[in-house]
Protein backbone atom coordinates (compact mmCIF):
# COMPACT_ATOMS: atom_id res chain seq x y z
CA UNK A 1 0.00 0.00 0.00
CA UNK A 2 1.40 3.32 -1.02
CA UNK A 3 -0.03 5.74 1.53
CA UNK A 4 1.81 5.86 4.84
CA UNK A 5 -1.48 5.50 6.77
CA UNK A 6 -0.54 6.29 10.34
CA UNK A 7 -3.90 7.77 11.28
CA UNK A 8 -5.90 6.90 14.38
CA UNK A 9 -8.31 4.87 12.29
CA UNK A 10 -5.50 2.72 11.00
CA UNK A 11 -4.10 2.09 14.43
CA UNK A 12 -7.38 1.08 15.98
CA UNK A 13 -8.04 -1.54 13.35
CA UNK A 14 -8.01 -5.13 14.57
CA UNK A 15 -4.85 -7.03 13.68
CA UNK A 16 -5.28 -8.97 10.48
CA UNK A 17 -8.06 -6.74 9.17
CA UNK A 18 -7.45 -5.72 5.58
CA UNK A 19 -7.15 -1.95 5.32
CA UNK A 20 -9.27 -0.57 2.49
CA UNK A 21 -8.01 2.13 0.20
CA UNK A 22 -8.80 5.73 1.15
CA UNK A 23 -11.96 4.34 2.75
CA UNK A 24 -15.04 6.41 1.87
CA UNK A 25 -15.82 2.83 0.88
CA UNK A 26 -19.40 1.86 1.14
CA UNK A 27 -21.50 4.78 2.29
CA UNK A 28 -21.48 7.58 -0.27
CA UNK A 29 -23.38 10.76 0.56
CA UNK A 30 -26.09 11.59 -1.98
CA UNK A 31 -24.47 14.93 -2.79
CA UNK A 32 -21.43 13.21 -4.35
CA UNK A 33 -23.12 11.57 -7.33
CA UNK A 34 -23.98 14.75 -9.29
CA UNK A 35 -20.29 15.69 -9.35
CA UNK A 36 -19.53 12.68 -11.51
CA UNK A 37 -22.06 13.74 -14.13
CA UNK A 38 -20.26 16.54 -16.06
CA UNK A 39 -17.18 14.50 -17.07
CA UNK A 40 -19.32 11.50 -17.90
CA UNK A 41 -21.58 13.71 -20.02
CA UNK A 42 -18.56 15.03 -21.94
CA UNK A 43 -17.26 11.51 -22.48
CA UNK A 44 -20.70 10.35 -23.61
CA UNK A 45 -20.99 13.08 -26.24
CA UNK A 46 -17.49 12.82 -27.72
CA UNK A 47 -16.80 9.11 -27.31
CA UNK A 48 -19.62 6.80 -26.21
CA UNK A 49 -22.23 8.21 -28.59
CA UNK A 50 -19.84 8.08 -31.59
CA UNK A 51 -18.90 4.52 -30.66
CA UNK A 52 -22.55 3.56 -30.46
CA UNK A 53 -23.10 5.06 -33.91
CA UNK A 54 -20.28 2.89 -35.28
CA UNK A 55 -21.97 -0.19 -33.86
CA UNK A 56 -25.32 0.92 -35.33
CA UNK A 57 -23.77 1.60 -38.73
CA UNK A 58 -22.14 -1.83 -38.70
CA UNK A 59 -25.57 -3.42 -38.34
CA UNK A 60 -26.56 -2.36 -41.85
CA UNK A 61 -28.20 -5.31 -43.61
CA UNK A 62 -25.67 -7.75 -45.01
CA UNK A 63 -22.62 -5.81 -43.83
CA UNK A 64 -21.37 -8.43 -41.40
CA UNK A 65 -21.96 -11.34 -43.76
CA UNK A 66 -20.18 -9.57 -46.58
CA UNK A 67 -17.14 -8.45 -44.59
CA UNK A 68 -16.69 -11.59 -42.52
CA UNK A 69 -16.76 -13.80 -45.62
CA UNK A 70 -14.31 -11.66 -47.59
CA UNK A 71 -10.79 -13.07 -47.89
CA UNK A 72 -9.21 -9.63 -47.38
CA UNK A 73 -10.81 -9.38 -43.94
CA UNK A 74 -9.70 -12.85 -42.92
CA UNK A 75 -6.18 -12.12 -44.15
CA UNK A 76 -6.10 -8.86 -42.20
CA UNK A 77 -7.37 -10.56 -39.03
CA UNK A 78 -4.76 -13.28 -39.29
CA UNK A 79 -1.94 -10.82 -40.05
CA UNK A 80 -2.97 -8.56 -37.18
CA UNK A 81 -3.09 -11.37 -34.64
CA UNK A 82 0.17 -13.08 -35.60
CA UNK A 83 2.04 -9.79 -35.90
CA UNK A 84 0.78 -8.71 -32.48
CA UNK A 85 1.62 -12.04 -30.84
CA UNK A 86 5.06 -12.26 -32.46
CA UNK A 87 5.88 -8.62 -31.62
CA UNK A 88 4.82 -9.13 -28.02
CA UNK A 89 6.98 -12.23 -27.70
CA UNK A 90 9.92 -10.36 -29.21
CA UNK A 91 9.42 -7.36 -26.92
CA UNK A 92 9.23 -9.59 -23.85
CA UNK A 93 12.48 -11.41 -24.62
CA UNK A 94 14.36 -8.30 -25.70
CA UNK A 95 12.96 -6.14 -22.90
CA UNK A 96 13.80 -8.75 -20.29
CA UNK A 97 17.40 -9.10 -21.47
CA UNK A 98 17.99 -5.34 -21.70
CA UNK A 99 16.34 -4.58 -18.34
CA UNK A 100 18.34 -7.40 -16.75
CA UNK A 101 21.63 -5.86 -17.85
CA UNK A 102 20.60 -2.33 -16.81
CA UNK A 103 19.45 -3.46 -13.38
CA UNK A 104 21.89 -6.21 -12.40
CA UNK A 105 25.06 -5.64 -14.41
CA UNK A 106 25.22 -1.90 -13.83
CA UNK A 107 27.46 0.19 -16.02
CA UNK A 108 28.30 3.90 -16.14
CA UNK A 109 25.61 5.63 -18.17
CA UNK A 110 22.90 3.18 -17.19
CA UNK A 111 20.84 6.02 -15.74
CA UNK A 112 21.15 7.92 -19.01
CA UNK A 113 19.93 4.85 -20.87
CA UNK A 114 16.81 4.66 -18.70
CA UNK A 115 16.20 8.36 -19.32
CA UNK A 116 16.63 7.77 -23.04
CA UNK A 117 14.00 5.03 -22.89
CA UNK A 118 11.54 7.43 -21.25
CA UNK A 119 12.15 9.94 -24.03
CA UNK A 120 11.81 7.21 -26.63
CA UNK A 121 8.31 6.49 -25.31
CA UNK A 122 7.19 10.03 -25.99
CA UNK A 123 7.96 9.84 -29.72
CA UNK A 124 5.36 8.70 -32.24
CA UNK A 125 5.67 5.16 -33.56
CA UNK A 126 5.94 6.05 -37.24
CA UNK A 127 9.38 7.57 -36.68
CA UNK A 128 10.72 4.03 -36.31
CA UNK A 129 9.44 3.01 -39.72
CA UNK A 130 10.85 6.21 -41.19
CA UNK A 131 14.24 5.37 -39.68
CA UNK A 132 14.06 1.79 -40.94
CA UNK A 133 13.55 3.14 -44.46
CA UNK A 134 16.98 4.78 -44.19
CA UNK A 135 18.54 1.75 -42.54
CA UNK A 136 17.17 -1.13 -44.61
CA UNK A 137 15.28 0.55 -47.46
CA UNK A 138 16.13 -0.04 -51.12
CA UNK A 139 18.46 2.93 -50.83
CA UNK A 140 19.86 3.12 -47.35
CA UNK A 141 22.63 2.22 -45.02
CA UNK A 142 22.58 -1.60 -45.06
CA UNK A 143 22.11 -1.93 -48.80
CA UNK A 144 24.61 0.89 -49.37
CA UNK A 145 27.26 -0.96 -47.37
CA UNK A 146 26.51 -4.10 -49.37
CA UNK A 147 26.87 -2.22 -52.65
CA UNK A 148 30.13 -0.62 -51.52
CA UNK A 149 31.51 -3.97 -50.44
CA UNK A 150 30.43 -6.20 -53.30
CA UNK A 151 29.70 -3.86 -56.18
CA UNK A 152 26.27 -5.42 -56.54
CA UNK A 153 23.92 -2.47 -57.32
CA UNK A 154 20.96 -3.94 -55.39
CA UNK A 155 21.43 -5.03 -51.83
CA UNK A 156 19.96 -8.11 -50.18
CA UNK A 157 17.77 -6.23 -47.68
CA UNK A 158 14.27 -5.89 -49.04
CA UNK A 159 12.08 -7.06 -46.19
CA UNK A 160 10.63 -3.64 -45.26
CA UNK A 161 7.51 -4.04 -47.39
CA UNK A 162 6.83 -7.46 -45.88
CA UNK A 163 5.36 -8.31 -42.47
CA UNK A 164 8.93 -8.81 -41.21
CA UNK A 165 9.60 -5.09 -41.58
CA UNK A 166 6.49 -4.32 -39.54
CA UNK A 167 7.54 -6.90 -36.98
CA UNK A 168 11.00 -5.33 -36.59
CA UNK A 169 9.48 -1.85 -36.23
CA UNK A 170 6.91 -2.98 -33.67
CA UNK A 171 9.49 -4.82 -31.57
CA UNK A 172 11.72 -1.75 -31.62
CA UNK A 173 8.98 0.67 -30.71
CA UNK A 174 7.19 -1.36 -28.05
CA UNK A 175 10.14 -2.92 -26.18
CA UNK A 176 10.51 0.15 -23.91
CA UNK A 177 6.91 -0.39 -22.78
CA UNK A 178 8.02 -3.77 -21.38
CA UNK A 179 11.27 -2.42 -19.95
CA UNK A 180 9.70 0.29 -17.84
CA UNK A 181 7.57 -1.92 -15.55
CA UNK A 182 10.43 -4.45 -15.44
CA UNK A 183 12.97 -1.85 -14.32
CA UNK A 184 10.50 -0.66 -11.68
CA UNK A 185 10.06 -4.23 -10.44
CA UNK A 186 13.82 -4.90 -10.45
CA UNK A 187 14.54 -1.74 -8.48
CA UNK A 188 12.34 -3.04 -5.66
CA UNK A 189 14.01 -6.45 -5.58
CA UNK A 190 16.07 -7.51 -2.59
CA UNK A 191 19.67 -7.79 -3.74
CA UNK A 192 20.31 -9.95 -0.67
CA UNK A 193 18.51 -12.81 -2.42
CA UNK A 194 20.87 -12.56 -5.36
CA UNK A 195 23.93 -12.36 -3.12
CA UNK A 196 22.77 -15.36 -1.11
CA UNK A 197 22.09 -17.42 -4.21
CA UNK A 198 25.41 -16.52 -5.76
CA UNK A 199 27.41 -17.11 -2.56
CA UNK A 200 25.82 -20.56 -2.40
CA UNK A 201 27.37 -21.19 -5.79
CA UNK A 202 24.45 -20.59 -8.18
CA UNK A 203 25.57 -19.55 -11.64
CA UNK A 204 24.08 -16.34 -13.14
CA UNK A 205 21.85 -18.30 -15.53
CA UNK A 206 20.37 -20.20 -12.60
CA UNK A 207 19.85 -17.02 -10.56
CA UNK A 208 18.03 -15.46 -13.49
CA UNK A 209 15.85 -18.53 -13.91
CA UNK A 210 15.05 -19.26 -10.29
CA UNK A 211 15.26 -15.94 -8.48
CA UNK A 212 14.76 -13.05 -10.89
CA UNK A 213 12.28 -14.52 -13.36
CA UNK A 214 9.64 -15.48 -10.75
CA UNK A 215 9.85 -11.96 -9.30
CA UNK A 216 9.58 -10.40 -12.74
CA UNK A 217 6.58 -12.44 -13.91
CA UNK A 218 3.85 -9.98 -12.82
CA UNK A 219 5.64 -7.07 -14.49
CA UNK A 220 6.25 -9.16 -17.61
CA UNK A 221 2.59 -10.16 -17.74
CA UNK A 222 1.39 -6.59 -17.29
CA UNK A 223 3.82 -5.11 -19.81
CA UNK A 224 3.24 -7.93 -22.28
CA UNK A 225 -0.52 -7.65 -22.32
CA UNK A 226 -0.33 -3.86 -22.70
CA UNK A 227 2.01 -4.29 -25.67
CA UNK A 228 -0.27 -6.94 -27.16
CA UNK A 229 -3.22 -4.53 -27.13
CA UNK A 230 -1.11 -1.69 -28.53
CA UNK A 231 0.22 -3.92 -31.33
CA UNK A 232 -3.31 -4.97 -32.27
CA UNK A 233 -4.21 -1.28 -32.55
CA UNK A 234 -1.01 -0.07 -34.21
CA UNK A 235 -1.53 1.92 -37.37
CA UNK A 236 1.26 4.43 -37.92
CA UNK A 237 3.99 1.81 -38.33
CA UNK A 238 2.01 -0.16 -40.91
CA UNK A 239 0.92 2.95 -42.78
CA UNK A 240 4.49 4.21 -43.10
CA UNK A 241 5.89 0.99 -44.56
CA UNK A 242 3.58 1.70 -47.48
CA UNK A 243 3.43 -2.04 -48.02
CA UNK A 244 0.47 -3.24 -49.98
CA UNK A 245 1.22 -6.76 -48.76
CA UNK A 246 0.68 -5.97 -45.08
CA UNK A 247 -2.92 -5.20 -44.17
CA UNK A 248 -3.92 -5.19 -40.53
CA UNK A 249 -7.37 -4.51 -39.11
CA UNK A 250 -6.71 -0.79 -38.42
CA UNK A 251 -5.35 -0.45 -41.97
CA UNK A 252 -8.50 -2.11 -43.29
CA UNK A 253 -10.69 0.32 -41.32
CA UNK A 254 -8.76 3.22 -42.84
CA UNK A 255 -8.82 1.94 -46.41
CA UNK A 256 -12.51 0.96 -46.32
CA UNK A 257 -13.58 4.31 -44.86
CA UNK A 258 -11.24 6.80 -46.52
CA UNK A 259 -10.21 5.19 -49.78
CA UNK A 260 -13.39 3.24 -50.63
CA UNK A 261 -15.93 5.33 -48.66
CA UNK A 262 -17.57 2.07 -47.60
CA UNK A 263 -18.54 3.13 -44.10
CA UNK A 264 -20.67 0.09 -43.26
CA UNK A 265 -17.76 -2.26 -43.95
CA UNK A 266 -15.33 0.01 -42.08
CA UNK A 267 -17.65 -0.04 -39.07
CA UNK A 268 -17.88 -3.84 -39.13
CA UNK A 269 -14.07 -4.16 -39.14
CA UNK A 270 -13.90 -1.51 -36.41
CA UNK A 271 -16.34 -3.43 -34.21
CA UNK A 272 -14.30 -6.64 -34.62
CA UNK A 273 -11.09 -4.78 -33.82
CA UNK A 274 -12.62 -3.11 -30.76
CA UNK A 275 -13.99 -6.41 -29.48
CA UNK A 276 -10.57 -8.03 -29.83
CA UNK A 277 -8.63 -5.22 -28.14
CA UNK A 278 -11.12 -4.42 -25.39
CA UNK A 279 -11.36 -8.10 -24.52
CA UNK A 280 -7.59 -8.29 -24.19
CA UNK A 281 -7.48 -4.99 -22.35
CA UNK A 282 -9.89 -6.26 -19.70
CA UNK A 283 -7.52 -9.19 -19.29
CA UNK A 284 -4.60 -6.75 -18.96
CA UNK A 285 -6.34 -4.76 -16.24
CA UNK A 286 -6.99 -7.96 -14.33
CA UNK A 287 -3.38 -9.04 -14.66
CA UNK A 288 -1.91 -5.67 -13.74
CA UNK A 289 -4.24 -5.29 -10.76
CA UNK A 290 -3.01 -8.61 -9.45
CA UNK A 291 0.54 -7.51 -10.11
CA UNK A 292 -0.14 -4.37 -8.08
CA UNK A 293 0.88 -2.10 -10.93
Amino acid sequence: MASPGTGLLERRRAPGAVPTRSDPADRVPATVWPWALPPVAVLAVVFLYPLALVVRESLAPGAYAEVLSSPSFRDALLTTVWLAVASTAGCLVLGFVLALVIAFVPFPGGKAVSKFIDVFLSFPSFLITLALLFLYGTVGMANGIWTDATGDPTGPFRFLGTPWGVLLAEITYFTPFVMRPLLAAFSQMETAQLEAASSLGARPSRIVRQVILPEALPALAAGGSLVLVMCLNEFGIVLFTGAKGVTTLPMLVHSKAILESDYAAACVVAVVNVALSVGLYVLYRGVSRRAGA
Partner: protein
Protein backbone atom coordinates in the same frame (compact mmCIF):
# COMPACT_ATOMS: atom_id res chain seq x y z
CA UNK B 1 25.63 -7.45 -8.92
CA UNK B 2 24.67 -10.57 -10.81
CA UNK B 3 27.84 -11.31 -12.75
CA UNK B 4 31.07 -11.31 -10.78
CA UNK B 5 33.68 -12.29 -13.34
CA UNK B 6 35.18 -9.58 -15.45
CA UNK B 7 34.71 -11.37 -18.76
CA UNK B 8 31.12 -12.19 -17.85
CA UNK B 9 30.39 -8.55 -17.22
CA UNK B 10 31.95 -7.49 -20.49
CA UNK B 11 29.94 -10.15 -22.30
CA UNK B 12 26.73 -8.82 -20.76
CA UNK B 13 27.62 -5.25 -21.66
CA UNK B 14 28.54 -6.05 -25.23
CA UNK B 15 25.32 -8.04 -25.65
CA UNK B 16 23.48 -4.97 -24.37
CA UNK B 17 25.33 -2.66 -26.75
CA UNK B 18 24.79 -4.99 -29.73
CA UNK B 19 21.04 -5.02 -29.06
CA UNK B 20 20.53 -1.48 -27.84
CA UNK B 21 22.55 0.63 -30.25
CA UNK B 22 21.21 -0.62 -33.61
CA UNK B 23 17.64 -0.95 -32.38
CA UNK B 24 17.13 2.22 -30.35
CA UNK B 25 19.95 4.72 -30.77
CA UNK B 26 20.57 4.25 -34.49
CA UNK B 27 16.99 5.04 -35.69
CA UNK B 28 17.01 8.48 -34.10
CA UNK B 29 20.54 9.22 -35.31
CA UNK B 30 19.63 8.09 -38.81
CA UNK B 31 16.65 10.43 -38.96
CA UNK B 32 18.81 13.29 -37.71
CA UNK B 33 21.54 12.54 -40.27
CA UNK B 34 19.06 12.19 -43.12
CA UNK B 35 17.42 15.51 -42.30
CA UNK B 36 20.72 17.26 -43.12
CA UNK B 37 21.45 15.48 -46.40
CA UNK B 38 20.25 15.13 -49.95
CA UNK B 39 21.39 11.60 -50.90
CA UNK B 40 21.77 8.26 -49.23
CA UNK B 41 23.16 5.70 -51.60
CA UNK B 42 26.21 4.41 -49.72
CA UNK B 43 26.89 3.55 -46.12
CA UNK B 44 26.54 7.17 -45.12
CA UNK B 45 24.32 10.03 -46.28
CA UNK B 46 25.84 12.63 -48.59
CA UNK B 47 25.23 16.12 -49.86
CA UNK B 48 25.04 18.06 -46.59
CA UNK B 49 22.37 20.76 -46.61
CA UNK B 50 20.14 22.73 -44.30
CA UNK B 51 17.62 23.40 -47.04
CA UNK B 52 15.09 20.96 -45.55
CA UNK B 53 15.06 22.98 -42.37
CA UNK B 54 14.69 26.34 -44.06
CA UNK B 55 11.72 24.79 -45.86
CA UNK B 56 10.44 23.23 -42.64
CA UNK B 57 10.06 26.54 -40.84
CA UNK B 58 8.14 28.24 -43.65
CA UNK B 59 4.74 28.16 -45.27
CA UNK B 60 2.88 24.87 -45.15
CA UNK B 61 5.28 23.25 -42.68
CA UNK B 62 5.23 26.14 -40.25
CA UNK B 63 1.46 26.16 -40.41
CA UNK B 64 1.44 22.42 -39.69
CA UNK B 65 3.67 22.98 -36.67
CA UNK B 66 1.40 25.66 -35.22
CA UNK B 67 -1.61 23.47 -36.02
CA UNK B 68 -0.03 20.62 -34.07
CA UNK B 69 0.90 22.88 -31.17
CA UNK B 70 -2.57 24.47 -30.93
CA UNK B 71 -4.27 21.08 -31.21
CA UNK B 72 -2.01 19.49 -28.60
CA UNK B 73 -2.34 22.35 -26.11
CA UNK B 74 -6.13 22.55 -26.47
CA UNK B 75 -6.58 18.79 -26.28
CA UNK B 76 -4.28 18.53 -23.25
CA UNK B 77 -5.99 21.32 -21.32
CA UNK B 78 -9.48 19.92 -21.95
CA UNK B 79 -8.35 16.34 -21.29
CA UNK B 80 -6.61 17.34 -18.08
CA UNK B 81 -9.71 19.19 -16.83
CA UNK B 82 -12.11 16.40 -17.68
CA UNK B 83 -9.75 13.62 -16.60
CA UNK B 84 -8.90 15.26 -13.27
CA UNK B 85 -12.54 16.04 -12.57
CA UNK B 86 -13.49 12.44 -13.31
CA UNK B 87 -10.65 11.09 -11.17
CA UNK B 88 -11.64 13.32 -8.22
CA UNK B 89 -15.30 12.38 -8.58
CA UNK B 90 -14.41 8.69 -8.86
CA UNK B 91 -12.29 8.85 -5.72
CA UNK B 92 -15.24 10.31 -3.80
CA UNK B 93 -17.62 7.63 -5.02
CA UNK B 94 -17.83 4.21 -3.43
CA UNK B 95 -15.85 1.29 -4.71
CA UNK B 96 -18.48 0.24 -7.24
CA UNK B 97 -19.01 3.72 -8.64
CA UNK B 98 -15.27 4.21 -8.90
CA UNK B 99 -14.87 1.01 -10.84
CA UNK B 100 -17.57 2.01 -13.35
CA UNK B 101 -16.16 5.51 -13.82
CA UNK B 102 -12.57 4.26 -14.18
CA UNK B 103 -13.63 1.64 -16.72
CA UNK B 104 -15.52 4.26 -18.76
CA UNK B 105 -12.57 6.61 -18.84
CA UNK B 106 -10.04 3.88 -19.59
CA UNK B 107 -12.01 2.59 -22.55
CA UNK B 108 -10.41 4.96 -25.13
CA UNK B 109 -6.99 3.38 -24.41
CA UNK B 110 -8.22 -0.02 -25.49
CA UNK B 111 -10.15 1.18 -28.53
CA UNK B 112 -7.85 1.52 -31.56
CA UNK B 113 -7.13 5.17 -32.41
CA UNK B 114 -8.24 4.57 -35.98
CA UNK B 115 -11.63 3.49 -34.65
CA UNK B 116 -11.81 6.58 -32.42
CA UNK B 117 -11.19 8.62 -35.56
CA UNK B 118 -13.84 6.72 -37.51
CA UNK B 119 -16.36 7.07 -34.67
CA UNK B 120 -15.84 10.80 -34.28
CA UNK B 121 -16.01 11.21 -38.06
CA UNK B 122 -19.27 9.25 -38.29
CA UNK B 123 -20.83 11.04 -35.31
CA UNK B 124 -20.02 14.61 -36.30
CA UNK B 125 -20.70 14.28 -40.01
CA UNK B 126 -24.42 14.06 -39.34
CA UNK B 127 -26.95 16.21 -37.47
CA UNK B 128 -27.37 17.37 -34.72
CA UNK B 129 -23.73 18.49 -34.66
CA UNK B 130 -21.92 19.03 -37.96
CA UNK B 131 -18.20 19.48 -37.44
CA UNK B 132 -16.78 17.58 -40.40
CA UNK B 133 -14.27 19.74 -42.26
CA UNK B 134 -13.55 21.98 -39.27
CA UNK B 135 -10.57 21.97 -36.94
CA UNK B 136 -12.80 21.04 -34.03
CA UNK B 137 -13.23 17.47 -35.21
CA UNK B 138 -9.45 16.95 -35.01
CA UNK B 139 -9.28 18.54 -31.58
CA UNK B 140 -12.19 16.41 -30.31
CA UNK B 141 -10.55 13.20 -31.50
CA UNK B 142 -7.22 14.12 -29.86
CA UNK B 143 -9.01 15.04 -26.63
CA UNK B 144 -10.77 11.68 -26.52
CA UNK B 145 -7.50 9.84 -27.05
CA UNK B 146 -5.51 11.66 -24.37
CA UNK B 147 -8.24 12.01 -21.72
CA UNK B 148 -7.79 8.36 -20.77
CA UNK B 149 -4.09 8.90 -20.03
CA UNK B 150 -4.79 12.07 -18.02
CA UNK B 151 -7.42 10.23 -16.01
CA UNK B 152 -5.13 7.26 -15.44
CA UNK B 153 -2.18 9.25 -14.13
CA UNK B 154 -4.29 11.55 -11.95
CA UNK B 155 -6.17 8.67 -10.34
CA UNK B 156 -2.89 6.86 -9.70
CA UNK B 157 -1.62 10.02 -7.98
CA UNK B 158 -4.85 10.32 -5.96
CA UNK B 159 -4.38 6.76 -4.71
CA UNK B 160 -0.92 7.67 -3.43
CA UNK B 161 -2.13 10.88 -1.77
CA UNK B 162 -2.11 10.78 2.01
CA UNK B 163 -5.73 11.38 3.14
CA UNK B 164 -4.46 12.89 6.40
CA UNK B 165 -3.92 16.32 4.81
CA UNK B 166 -7.48 16.79 3.66
CA UNK B 167 -8.86 15.24 6.84
CA UNK B 168 -6.81 17.67 8.89
CA UNK B 169 -7.98 20.62 6.81
CA UNK B 170 -11.60 19.49 7.00
CA UNK B 171 -11.41 18.91 10.75
CA UNK B 172 -10.15 22.49 11.12
CA UNK B 173 -13.34 23.65 9.44
CA UNK B 174 -12.26 24.12 5.81
CA UNK B 175 -15.07 23.87 3.29
CA UNK B 176 -14.82 21.09 0.66
CA UNK B 177 -14.10 23.64 -2.07
CA UNK B 178 -11.30 25.15 0.00
CA UNK B 179 -9.84 21.71 0.71
CA UNK B 180 -9.92 20.91 -3.00
CA UNK B 181 -8.36 24.17 -4.17
CA UNK B 182 -5.84 24.80 -1.41
CA UNK B 183 -4.89 21.30 -0.26
CA UNK B 184 -5.64 18.61 -2.81
CA UNK B 185 -4.83 20.32 -6.10
CA UNK B 186 -1.51 21.78 -4.89
CA UNK B 187 -0.50 18.34 -3.66
CA UNK B 188 -1.50 16.88 -7.02
CA UNK B 189 0.31 19.55 -9.02
CA UNK B 190 3.43 17.47 -9.80
CA UNK B 191 1.31 14.63 -11.17
CA UNK B 192 -0.90 17.08 -13.05
CA UNK B 193 2.05 18.60 -14.87
CA UNK B 194 3.43 15.13 -15.61
CA UNK B 195 0.04 14.15 -17.03
CA UNK B 196 -0.04 17.35 -19.06
CA UNK B 197 3.34 16.51 -20.58
CA UNK B 198 2.18 13.00 -21.44
CA UNK B 199 -1.02 14.28 -23.06
CA UNK B 200 0.89 16.87 -25.04
CA UNK B 201 3.47 14.38 -26.34
CA UNK B 202 0.77 11.89 -27.33
CA UNK B 203 -1.26 14.51 -29.15
CA UNK B 204 1.79 15.91 -30.96
CA UNK B 205 2.58 12.50 -32.42
CA UNK B 206 -0.98 11.38 -33.09
CA UNK B 207 -1.42 10.10 -36.62
CA UNK B 208 -3.92 7.23 -36.67
CA UNK B 209 -7.09 9.10 -35.74
CA UNK B 210 -5.95 12.27 -37.47
CA UNK B 211 -5.61 10.74 -40.95
CA UNK B 212 -9.24 9.63 -40.67
CA UNK B 213 -10.64 13.12 -40.27
CA UNK B 214 -8.26 16.05 -40.82
CA UNK B 215 -9.60 18.84 -43.05
CA UNK B 216 -7.20 20.33 -45.65
CA UNK B 217 -6.81 23.58 -43.71
CA UNK B 218 -5.96 21.90 -40.40
CA UNK B 219 -3.08 19.52 -41.16
CA UNK B 220 -1.03 18.54 -38.12
CA UNK B 221 2.70 17.88 -38.49
CA UNK B 222 2.59 14.03 -38.38
CA UNK B 223 0.24 14.03 -41.38
CA UNK B 224 2.68 16.26 -43.25
CA UNK B 225 5.54 13.89 -42.37
CA UNK B 226 3.46 11.07 -43.80
CA UNK B 227 2.49 12.83 -47.02
CA UNK B 228 6.12 13.88 -47.55
CA UNK B 229 7.48 10.34 -47.14
CA UNK B 230 4.58 8.85 -49.07
CA UNK B 231 5.48 10.87 -52.17
CA UNK B 232 9.14 9.87 -51.75
CA UNK B 233 10.60 13.00 -50.13
CA UNK B 234 12.19 11.03 -47.32
CA UNK B 235 14.71 13.75 -46.47
CA UNK B 236 12.09 16.48 -46.16
CA UNK B 237 10.03 14.05 -44.09
CA UNK B 238 12.88 13.44 -41.67
CA UNK B 239 13.56 17.17 -41.26
CA UNK B 240 9.87 17.60 -40.37
CA UNK B 241 10.14 14.65 -37.99
CA UNK B 242 13.13 16.25 -36.27
CA UNK B 243 11.15 19.49 -35.91
CA UNK B 244 8.30 17.46 -34.40
CA UNK B 245 10.59 15.67 -31.94
CA UNK B 246 12.37 18.89 -30.95
CA UNK B 247 9.12 20.76 -30.34
CA UNK B 248 7.80 17.88 -28.23
CA UNK B 249 11.00 17.63 -26.20
CA UNK B 250 11.18 21.38 -25.59
CA UNK B 251 7.65 21.46 -24.22
CA UNK B 252 8.27 18.35 -22.10
CA UNK B 253 11.40 19.99 -20.71
CA UNK B 254 9.47 23.15 -19.85
CA UNK B 255 6.74 21.09 -18.19
CA UNK B 256 9.23 19.10 -16.13
CA UNK B 257 10.73 22.36 -14.84
CA UNK B 258 7.31 23.35 -13.49
CA UNK B 259 7.15 19.98 -11.80
CA UNK B 260 10.46 20.29 -9.97
CA UNK B 261 9.50 23.74 -8.74
CA UNK B 262 6.16 22.49 -7.43
CA UNK B 263 7.50 19.43 -5.68
CA UNK B 264 9.73 21.55 -3.44
CA UNK B 265 6.73 23.42 -2.08
Amino acid sequence: MLVHSRTGRWTAWSLFAVLFVPLFALPLLVILAASFSTHWSGAFPSGPTTAHYTAAVRGESLQALTTSLVTAVTASVVALTVGTWAALAAAALGRKGKRVLDALFMLPVAVPSVVVGLAVLVAFSQPPVLLNGTRWIVIIAHTVLVTAFAHQSVSAALRRLDPMYEQAAASLGARPSYVLLRVKLPLLLPSLTAAAGLCFALSMGELSATVMLYPPDWTPLPVLVFTATDRGSLFTGSALAVVLMTATLLVLLAVSRIRTKASYR
